[in-house]
Symmetry: C2
Subunit: 452 residues, 2 copies
């Protein structure tokens, strides 16, 4: 083990950074479970054949082979790859276990995924995602689209992140608008969507030109389609902003109504930390989503792209007889946290769970101090006994270095506790002393102050 | 997605089974943190070259390749494999981050690992392990060997598992005893250990013969060496049982003393659920461990082998200048839970975190019922609103099917709550009602009743 260097794209956290990540994951879990989402985890691998059916990202898949592999490696239908997201494995899990699940099935899934793409800030080869989805059998009422937006917005609000903007749109709204403009249904509508989606990379006149040249729209139609993507609105202004564009179609009305309901339904979760807005430029994975779609930007970190995305899908999972429509959102835990941790914008108050260090008068006192530590642990106070009976000054400095807030001294049946931040040392009752609640566990300080 | 079948060796749990696993992982984390162990996670991959240095299990490693891979795949020194345990990655993590860690460093690590071996009950290709280790710089006092045994015994005691026996031995005791018998130090002692280790597979006379033929011991020496492996003892009887064998050596005395201290130090964690005994037949990974060694058997599941193993190692991590000695134990979470879950010996009281289902009088009441649900969630009560406004009888049956204990009815400003187990329905105060503590979260029932 001579040459030790980090592997690019495979981030690892130091203990204090891991405490921040644990705080984030615990918070997500708490909110998801409060709303009745059940945890599942899937295996890390899927048959390569099945992953490739989803197309597009085949070049990024990590394929497995046993070093001295046997029959599995000969039969390509048995080749396994590491999953590149949590949606494809979840769809497979639902089909495999449909007879044992109750629908609508609410689940959250916090797991790693892998993509062999070129690493850059916030884009890793191994990363953690936190997904929520609600999946129905045969049908899934619209109100679940409001629900997942609301639950994720509430979860994100509870995290110590910079301000977030969740951008919501409706595929029905876009499609209905294009139909109202006079674009033919089917492939032409999809074609317009694909071209308009390039507005974040190309200039507006270029896109207007492409709509005429490639999809065959008139100049007026092309301008109208591009105009829609410029609309941003809230629950109050959405209908008027769309009306002002002068296009009408029943599907457009349905989309505006649904999008309005998402905005209204997330209003309670909207705060200084998380704004939910209608952004009619958001389209996402063109062939995949059929209703509400979501993206999320983090203020000051717009270069990361969307850190939390998803939407309504009608036919991701189907076994030919039964179709399982769903709606879900995926929060890129590593993508959001990595840049914040590396810039030390998110820190933990200590690098260990330990709240109290029991000082050791001499090595012969280890058993007695162990009993003292156990008395504190019984009340849920994370406690360790000094590793060695150095001078008290050295033991105190050991605690200081790790951010352990209290050192406990026990001698001749008397007890004292020292707050290492103030240096104040007081008599304490071993049977009753508890630390201030905020010191019981490490707390996390973020770009935005949190009360965690 | 036509053919959907489970992949042998890659277990997945249903939501109710996952709740059992979560309970186990939460319990382990709670106990580890109470003792000041910090969480870390390492990346899932290590350079293949470095993994193979540990020898022995190279044939089981899963090697990664990008489907359309580039330069990484050409340079064999950059080939990556999935880690097969958590010890090798942890040793690498310590070397990589030594300048940023404080020693002795206590860490726990709960993660998946992969081995491409033939699947059988409790042996998976993808599995979860929970490890604790304490690692020092240059030196690590013996008391940490007691500490890790004690912490793991306490953690195992808190789990809803069948009775466990943790078998402890000391490599110093074995080596000192062999030296006292007259075996030459170095390779001959190691040779005796390797042969005696076969006692679980071969008959005793066969092993005695091999010790004479292969290692060159006298008949009396061979009998003496085999006799040691027959000793099982507790803290009270250990010294007398070893004395009775009539062998003496300073290293033997040191080993007996240390083993006695492990037994005494774990006495507080010993219970009906977890017995800690000296078993002088336990040797484990011959070239690896240098002090205390551990194995653990689960009653009724002895065919799984050891479900929790480890020991003291002096030189696992070294960068040439500095050596990091450590001691650790690894609990095979999947190995222990898999067989218990598949036999339904461990079950959760419900398959969802939801404690209360808010009944929906009509679809128009969804917003109002959402406000009712939020009032309950504010008090930490996991709540969902009915997915559809079916007849109340159907909504109650939906709750019953998932084991959701309470259904909430709200109409005209009045509230009632129904316990679906008794059918009892009572007026309730939305601002104050709380469920009995044991119903707040799903509880886990095991082969052994627990109060979790």
């Amino acid at each position: 083990m001579a040459r030790i260097a980090p592997l690019s794209g495979f981030p690892e956290w130091l203990p204090g950074e891991r405490i921040v990540e644990q705080h984030v994951l615990d918070t997500l879990r708490r909110v998801f479970e409060l709303h009745g989402f059940a945890s599942i985890e899937t295996r890390s691998v899927e048959p390569l054949e099945q992953m490739l059916r989803k197309g597009e990202i085949d070049k990024e898949v990590y394929v497995l082979r046993r070093l001295h592999g046997g029959e599995d490696e000969i039969d390509p239908s048995k080749t396994l790859g590491l999953h590149f997201d949590l949606t494809v494995p979840f769809a497979r899990y639902v089909l495999e276990n449909a007879g044992k699940l109750d629908f609508p099935f609410r689940r959250y899934q916090i797991q790693r995924a892998w993509r062999g793409e070129r690493p850059q800030e916030g884009r890793y080869r191994e990363f953690c995602q936190a997904d929520i989805d609600v999946i129905g059998r045969d049908e899934l009422p619209f109100h679940h689209e409001v629900e997942v937006a609301r639950v994720m917005a509430e979860a994100l609000s509870a995290l110590p992140l910079p301000p977030l903007t969740m951008q919501v749109n409706s595929r029905k709204l876009i499609e209905g608008y294009y139909l109202g403009v006079g674009v033919a249904p089917g492939e032409p509508v999809a074609g317009v969507m694909r071209v308009v989606d390039k507005l974040d990379k190309l200039e507006r006149p270029k896109v207007v030109g492409m709509l005429q040249d490639e999809v065959g729209l008139s100049a007026a139609q092309a301008e109208a389609c591009v105009a829609l993507a410029g609309v941003q609105a809230d629950a109050e202004t959405l209908a008027a902003r769309v009306d002002a564009l002068g296009v009408s179609h029943p599907l457009l009305d349905e989309g505006v109504d649904e999008l309005g309901r998402v905005l209204a339904g997330t209003a309670a979760a909207t705060s200084d930390r998380v704004r939910v807005v209608a952004d009619l430029a958001i389209a996402r994975g063109l062939d995949y989503y059929t209703g509400t779609v979501f993206e999320t930007r983090m203020q000051g970190f717009e270069h990361l792209g969307s850190i939390c995305s998803g939407g309504r899908y009608d036919a991701l999972a189907s076994d030919g007889r039964t179709t399982y429509p769903g709606v879900g959102i995926s929060f890129g835990v590593s993508r959001a946290l990595g840049p914040l941790l590396s810039r030390e914008l998110l820190t933990a108050s200590r690098s260990t769970p330990t709240c109290v260090l029991v000082a050791l008068p001499g090595e012969d006192d280890r058993n007695a101090m162990g009993i003292v530590a156990d008395a504190l642990r019984l009340r849920g106070i994370a406690t360790e006994v000094s590793a060695s009976a150095q001078k008290y000054g050295k033991q105190i400095r050991y605690a200081e270095r790790r951010g352990i807030p209290f050192v406990w001294f026990s001698q001749d049946g008397g007890h004292q506790v020292r707050d290492i931040r103030t240096g104040e040392q007081q008599d304490a009752d071993l049977a009753a002393w508890v630390p201030p609640t905020e010191d019981l566990r490490p707390h996390v300080t973020g770009a935005v102050a949190t009360d965690s």
